[in-house]
């Protein structure tokens, strides 16, 4: 601001806010009022060019009522440019001494790579993590299997109370939601079947479609995905919270293997409950199919029941239920593994839980695809 010749300049500020008044002319200016974080921008604007005008200038701050640390920092910067501060109040002197005495350095620039390299780095990191994850899953699967087998060989090590609690939590409490989901899935398949098969006059085949798809795939798949979201995540969160509170370390110190008390009971419980839940889902799905047949095809429940054994065989039921314990094993293993991977902080519980759910649903679907191909080849 070159035209500071005006003897006194009041800076724009409304009445309730603190004000800064710059007065004087030439090389000798005076500040009055408040030099605070709120008036800092004003001060900077009005003194910008003045502060760069060579030496032998002075700034009188005797009339300054309020001075805070940003204001003091501003004055220190002026002083460093060769401006002499005059009339500093005793109360402000110690603040100025403190702030000017600080060894200030700018925030170090975080290292940044160009965007295309960023992509390559991410890709590399992703591959590295994936490989690491795979090794870890395989190791953990092995350790869990050996832990479970040794627990089964020495039944004294089994913890029936823990197992029954987990059966109640993962199984019985999941019944209502799984039943509702199975009925709804059967209704969706039934509706689509009728709509697609009607032009060919084959809407009767909808019963085959619903029965076979529910028994072979949908029943167990819906159950597994729901259990992965519901119980797999709960396993990670429970064990993860124990990890953050050092409860796992406490177990180890007492000579109790976390594998035996935390992982094995959950695994056994889930391997027991998931097939039962899948069977329940099959039954509910068939009931849903019956409802659709009654509503859209005018097939009475008795007719529906007599037709069922002809359209779906025990083999279909077996194919579905055979997969359930395998899914259960992986859901439990992945859930527990991520729980034990939690590192201290609370946010890592959230991160590991998300990963556990994503990973177990992915594994369930990948295994299901594998089984579909396998059973097809085997002709089951």
């Amino acid at each position: 601001m070159t035209d500071l010749s005006a003897n006194e300049q009041e800076l724009p500020a409304n009445s309730s806010r603190p004000k800064l008044v710059v007065s004087g002319a030439g090389d000798h200016l005076a500040l009055a009022g408040a030099l605070e974080i709120a008036t800092l921008a004003d001060a900077r604007n009005s003194l910008k060019s003045w502060s760069k005008r060579g030496p032998s200038r002075s700034l009188d701050v005797a009339e300054l009522d309020q001075l805070d640390t940003p204001g003091a920092l501003f004055l220190c910067a002026l002083r460093a440019l060769g401006v002499e501060l005059t009339g500093v109040r005793a109360g402000h002197q110690s603040l100025l001494d403190l702030i000017c005495g600080l060894d200030l350095k700018p925030l170090p620039k975080a290292e940044s790579a160009p965007r295309w390299r960023h992509f390559v780095i991410q890709l590399g990191k992703g591959c590295h993590d994936a490989r690491h994850d795979l090794v870890e899953i395989i190791t953990f699967v092995g350790r869990t299997a050996s832990g479970t087998i040794s627990a089964l060989i020495h039944p004294d090590c089994l913890r029936p109370a823990a197992i029954s609690r987990h059966i109640a939590e993962t199984g019985i409490q999941a019944l209502p939601i799984i039943g509702v989901m199975a009925v709804m899935i059967a209704i969706v398949i039934g509706y689509q079947g009728v709509a697609q098969l009607h032009p060919y006059g084959g809407e009767d085949l909808t019963i085959n479609l619903v029965a076979v798809s529910v028994l072979r795939e949908m029943g167990v798949l819906i159950t597994a995905i729901l259990v992965a979201g519901r119980s797999g995540s709960a396993f990670t969160a429970e064990i993860g919270v124990m990890q953050t509170r050092e409860e796992i370390d406490a177990l180890k110190v007492m000579g109790i293997a976390p594998m035996q008390v935390l992982v094995v009971p959950r695994l056994i419980a889930l391997v027991i409950t998931l097939p039962l839940l899948a069977l329940f889902a099959d039954v509910m799905g068939l009931i849903g199919g019956g409802a659709i047949s009654l509503l859209l095809l005018d097939v009475s429940p008795t007719q529906y029941l007599t037709r069922l054994p002809h359209v779906a065989s025990g083999g279909d039921l077996f194919v579905g239920l055979f997969k359930a314990p395998i899914f259960a094993f992986f859901i439990a293993v992945i859930g527990c593994m991520h729980g034990l991977r939690v590192s201290g902080s609370a946010e890592s519980v959230g991160r590991e839980t998300t990963q556990a759910v994503v990973k177990s649903i992915f594994v369930v679907l990948a295994l299901d695809a594998l089984f579909s191909v396998l059973f097809e080849r085997l002709g089951i």
Partner: protein, 263 residues
């Protein structure tokens, strides 16, 4: 010096008849507390005596069942957001640094919210607060999860100072710290109080902190506050207060005080 300057200044924080209850259990029974500008006051009391609850009431985070808190003459519950942010800063017990932001971003957050300074300048101010809190510049880029306990407290200190508040509330600033870091924090509080003139309210049961830097101590016992200087409280005949100031731990802390005050 005229007579007015010598007269008792207006209290900066004034609590009147504070009552807090948990169900049937009364935690605070008509508590009065005046905190004068520029003083360091300690709030002490046994575990579970309601110290943190009192702090939450004073800062307006908790609405008391009865009574009111005035900050600079205005009810804390009616203060505007920007006004309150400029008036008080709080150091929470666990630091409460935002885990998704770097330390520098933690400090600039209140500035970004309540001032119109350009980002560059905010960063500069953040670096100054970091230096004030005694942290190296490189800490600015770190995330809270990468900091040690003492550094978390210092970074939280820097954030509490972000808008140059007139009152600093510190909840257990030295708990979970080793004695060297704890003494460092004590010295920092004393320095900030001396140079910035900030009023400090410390909730703690660290006897060394209470004895060495607090001008007055408010002891929360039997749902009431007993307020006085260390020497006054030492003479108290209330059994809990007597035990508190004469117990084996108090003796060591007393020696630190003598050393600090140069006899």
């Amino acid at each position: 010096m005229n007579v007015r300057a010598k007269a008792q200044p207006e209290p900066l924080v004034s609590a009147r008849g504070i009552v807090n209850r948990f169900g049937q259990q009364v935690v605070h029974d008509r508590i009065d507390l005046d905190i004068l500008p520029g003083e360091i006051i300690g709030i002490a009391g046994g575990s579970g005596a309601g110290k943190s609850m009192l702090l939450k009431t004073l800062t307006g985070l908790h609405r008391p069942d009865a009574g009111e808190v005035l900050l600079d003459g205005k009810s804390v519950l009616s203060l505007g957001a920007a006004e309150k942010a400029a008036l008080i800063g709080v150091l929470f017990q666990q630091g409460a640094l935002f885990s998704s932001l770097s330390v520098a971003q933690n400090i600039t957050l209140p500035m970004r919210e309540h001032t119109k300074l350009p980002a560059k300048e905010q960063e500069q101010l953040a670096m100054m607060k970091l230096a004030l809190a005694g942290l190296p510049a490189a800490t600015g880029n770190k995330f809270p999860s990468a900091l040690s306990g003492g550094m978390v407290k210092r970074a939280a200190f820097a954030r509490a100072l972000a808008l140059d508040p007139r009152i600093l509330f510190l909840d257990e600033p030295t708990s979970d710290l080793d004695p060297i870091s704890a003494s460092g924090i004590d010295a920092l509080i004393k320095q900030l109080n001396g140079s910035l003139g900030v009023t400090v309210v410390i909730v703690t049961h660290d006897l060394t902190t209470l004895f060495s830097i607090c001008g007055r101590i408010a002891v929360l016992v039997d749902r009431k506050l007993t307020i006085g200087t260390v020497d006054q409280l030492m003479k108290s005949d209330h059994p809990w207060i007597h035990e508190f100031f004469h117990g084996p731990r108090a003796l060591g802390a007393m020696q630190a005080r003598k050393k600090n005050h140069g006899n």
